[in-house]
C-alpha cells in the first residue's frame, strides 16, 4: 500500500486526464489534496466483468428457475439457447471473481476495528454511528466479499455437475440442484443489498468503481482510518 501523498505538482492542480492516468495504475493515493484513488483500473475491470456476467447468468438462470420467467428466454434465443449460454456466462462471472479474490483476499482479513463495526451494525444502518476505526473496507464489506467467494465456489461446483449431469451420480445431481438454488437466492438478495448500499444509500460511492476515485470528505466519513492513512492528515 502506498500511503504517502503524491508530491505536489509543479504547476497547478492535476487535470481530469492526469487523475484518470494515476487512477489506472495506483491505489490508495491522494491527488490534488481532494481526491483519493480507491480502486485501480484492473480491479474496476474485474468488478464490471463479473457484474455483467452475473447479470446475464441471472437472467438466463431465471428462465430455468421459474416458468413465470420462461418468456424471458426469447431475449436469449429460446430456452435451449438460454440453457446453452448460462454456463458460459457463469464461467465469465467465476473468472472475474477469481481475479478479485487474488487482489482482495489479503485486505479482506478481519481487523480489530471490525468487532466494533459489527456491534454497531443496527445503528450503522440507521446512519447513527460515527466509528473512527474503519479501514479501507468495513466489516460488512468484508462479509460480502467472503460471501461472494463462498457463493461463487458453490455455484461453480454445483454448476459443473448440472452442466454435465450424465457424468455424475444421481444423488450428486439432486444435491447440486439444491446447492445451486439456495446459493442463487442468497446471492440475489446479497447483490440487491450491495447495489442499493453503493448507489442510492451512500452517495459518492459508485464513482469509486467508475472513475476509481472518491472525495476526501467521503473517505473521511465512511472509512476514517483509511483516509488518515492515505492522506496523512486529520488527527
Amino acid at each position: 500500500m502506498n500511503s504517502s501523498p503524491l508530491s505536489p505538482p509543479a504547476a497547478g492542480p492535476l487535470g481530469q486526464a492526469e487523475i484518470a492516468a494515476i487512477a489506472r495504475k495506483q491505489e490508495d493515493v491522494m491527488v490534488n489534496d481532494e481526491l483519493i484513488v480507491r480502486h485501480k483500473a484492473g480491479v474496476r475491470l474485474a468488478h464490471w466483468t463479473l457484474a455483467v456476467f452475473f447479470f446475464l447468468a441471472t437472467l438466463t438462470g431465471f428462465v430455468i428457475y421459474t416458468p413465470y420467467f420462461a418468456g424471458l428466454a426469447g431475449v436469449f434465443g429460446g430456452g435451449a439457447m438460454a440453457r446453452f449460454l448460462h454456463p458460459w456466462f457463469s464461467l465469465g462471472f467465476v473468472i472475474g471473481v477469481a481475479f478479485l479474490f487474488g487482489h482482495w483476499h489479503a485486505r479482506m482479513m478481519s481487523e480489530p476495528g471490525d468487532q466494533e463495526w459489527r456491534k454497531n451494525f443496527r445503528s450503522y444502518m440507521r446512519y447513527e454511528t460515527e466509528l473512527k476505526d474503519v479501514g479501507k473496507y468495513n466489516a460488512g464489506q468484508k462479509l460480502f466479499f467472503w460471501s461472494v467467494i463462498l457463493g461463487a465456489s458453490a455455484f461453480l461446483l454445483s454448476g459443473i455437475v448440472m452442466w454435465f449431469p450424465s457424468s455424475f451420480h444421481w444423488s450428486l445431481r439432486l444435491l447440486s440442484y439444491w446447492a445451486h438454488e439456495i446459493t442463487f437466492i442468497c446471492f440475489v438478495v446479497g447483490v440487491i443489498y450491495h447495489v442499493y448500499m453503493s448507489t442510492a444509500a451512500m452517495p459518492g460511492t459508485l464513482r469509486a468503481m467508475t472513475r476509481g476515485t472518491v472525495t476526501r470528505a467521503w473517505a473521511r466519513w465512511h472509512h476514517p482510518r483509511w483516509s488518515r492513512e492515505v492522506s496523512g492528515k486529520q488527527k
Binding site: 421459474t66 429460446g78 435451449a80 444502518m125 438454488e181 452517495p203 459518492g204
Partner: protein
C-alpha cells in the same frame, strides 16, 4: 404431438390441464413369463418411430458385450430394449441351470411422472388425459432434469440435438385408435394394450395361473410409489423385481417436489422482499451523505 388428445399435466406450466373430459387410462401389459426374446417389438419400435439409422451421437449401439441382448442400454434413438437378464436357478437335484428373465426396458408412463415434475421448461413434457407421458422435443431445453427426476432411468439425451427422448407409447398411433407398434409385432401375445383397469384383471388372472403352476412368487409390478404405471408387468419373481432390472420401490424424488413447491416460492419471496426492503430503508433513512471536511482540514487543503 397428436392434436386430438387432451392434456392432464404440462410441465412447468401455471395452468396445467386443458381437458375436462374423462378419458380411459390406457396401459401396456408385459407378461415376462411368455416373452421368447424374439425382439420383434424392438424392430417394430425402430421402424414405426423411424429410428433405424445408427446415430453415433446417441450412444454406444451394436457393440459386443457378451450377451444376446441387442445393446447394453437404452439410447436416445433406441427406446425399447428387451433385457436378457441372466438368472441362475438351483434345480431339485442340486445342479444349477441358467435361464433368462426377459424384461422390456422402456418408459413406464407413471401416473405421477418424476420427469414431468422435474422439468423446468413449459410444455416440454406432457401427460395426456389417457395417462401417456410424452416429451415435446421442440420445447426441450436439454437440461436433463428429467433424467434426474426419473426413478427408472429412462430418458436419454441426444448429444447432437441436445434434446431428450424416450418411448412415446406410440401416442401418435394411440390417438388414432391403434395399438402401439411393439404390441402389434409381438408374436406370443405377451404384450397387450388396452384399458388399464381390464389389463390389471388379466394380469391378476395370469398370476393366479402361474401360482397354481408352482411359481409362488409370481405377481404384478405396478409400483404405487409413482402412482402406478401405464406399463405393468407380470413377473415370476415379483418379490425381487431387481432381477429384471426394475427398481424395487421406485418413487418420485420428493426432494425435487420440495425444491419446486417450497424452496422456489420462498426464494422468490426473499428476492422480492430484498427489493421492497431496500425501498423502505431508503424512504425511512434516506441517504447517508458524507459531510464536508471540517474547517481546519479544509484550510490544510488550501495551504498545502
Amino acid at each position: 404431438m397428436p392434436s386430438n388428445m387432451e392434456f392432464k399435466r404440462i410441465s412447468a406450466s401455471p395452468a396445467p390441464a386443458t381437458g375436462v373430459r374423462e378419458a380411459t387410462q390406457v396401459a401396456k401389459l408385459i407378461d415376462t413369463t411368455t416373452c421368447i426374446g424374439c425382439k420383434a417389438c424392438e424392430v417394430a419400435c425402430q421402424e414405426w418411430n423411424d429410428l433405424l439409422g445408427i446415430d453415433e451421437a446417441a450412444g454406444p449401439a451394436h457393440i459386443e458385450f457378451g450377451s444376446y441382448q441387442t445393446q447394453p442400454d437404452l439410447t436416445a434413438n433406441f427406446w425399447n430394449l428387451i433385457r436378457f437378464n441372466e438368472h441362475v436357478e438351483k434345480n431339485t437335484d442340486g445342479s444349477e441351470s441358467l435361464r433368462w428373465l426377459m424384461a422390456k426396458d422402456q418408459c413406464q408412463h407413471c401416473a405421477e411422472p418424476g420427469c414431468l415434475e422435474a422439468c423446468p421448461s413449459p410444455g416440454a413434457i406432457v401427460q395426456y388425459a389417457n395417462g401417456i407421458v410424452d416429451f415435446q422435443q421442440e420445447n426441450c431445453i436439454g437440461c436433463e432434469y428429467c433424467v434426474t427426476g426419473c426413478p427408472f432411468d429412462i430418458p436419454r439425451l441426444n448429444k447432437r440435438t441436445k434434446k431428450v427422448y424416450k418411448c412415446t407409447l406410440c401416442s401418435d398411433r394411440v390417438s388414432y385408435g391403434l395399438e402401439p407398434a411393439c404390441i402389434k409385432a409381438c408374436p406370443t401375445g405377451c404384450l397387450q394394450f388396452g384399458a388399464k383397469e381390464q389389463l390389471v384383471q388379466i394380469a391378476n388372472r395370469r398370476v393366479e395361473q402361474l401360482k397354481a403352476d408352482g411359481r409362488p412368487k409370481a405377481g404384478v409390478y405396478d409400483p404405487l410409489g409413482v402412482g402406478g404405471t401405464g406399463v405393468i408387468y407380470v413377473l415370476e419373481f415379483a418379490d425381487r423385481p431387481e432381477l429384471y432390472g426394475l427398481p424395487k420401490d421406485p418413487k418420485v424424488p420428493r426432494t425435487i417436489t420440495i425444491l419446486k413447491k417450497v424452496l422456489k416460492p420462498l426464494g422468490s419471496l426473499a428476492m422480492a422482499g430484498a427489493l421492497v426492503g431496500a425501498v423502505f430503508h431508503y424512504l425511512r433513512f434516506g441517504r447517508n451523505e458524507a459531510p464536508d471536511l471540517p474547517k481546519d482540514e479544509r484550510e490544510e487543503v488550501k495551504s498545502s
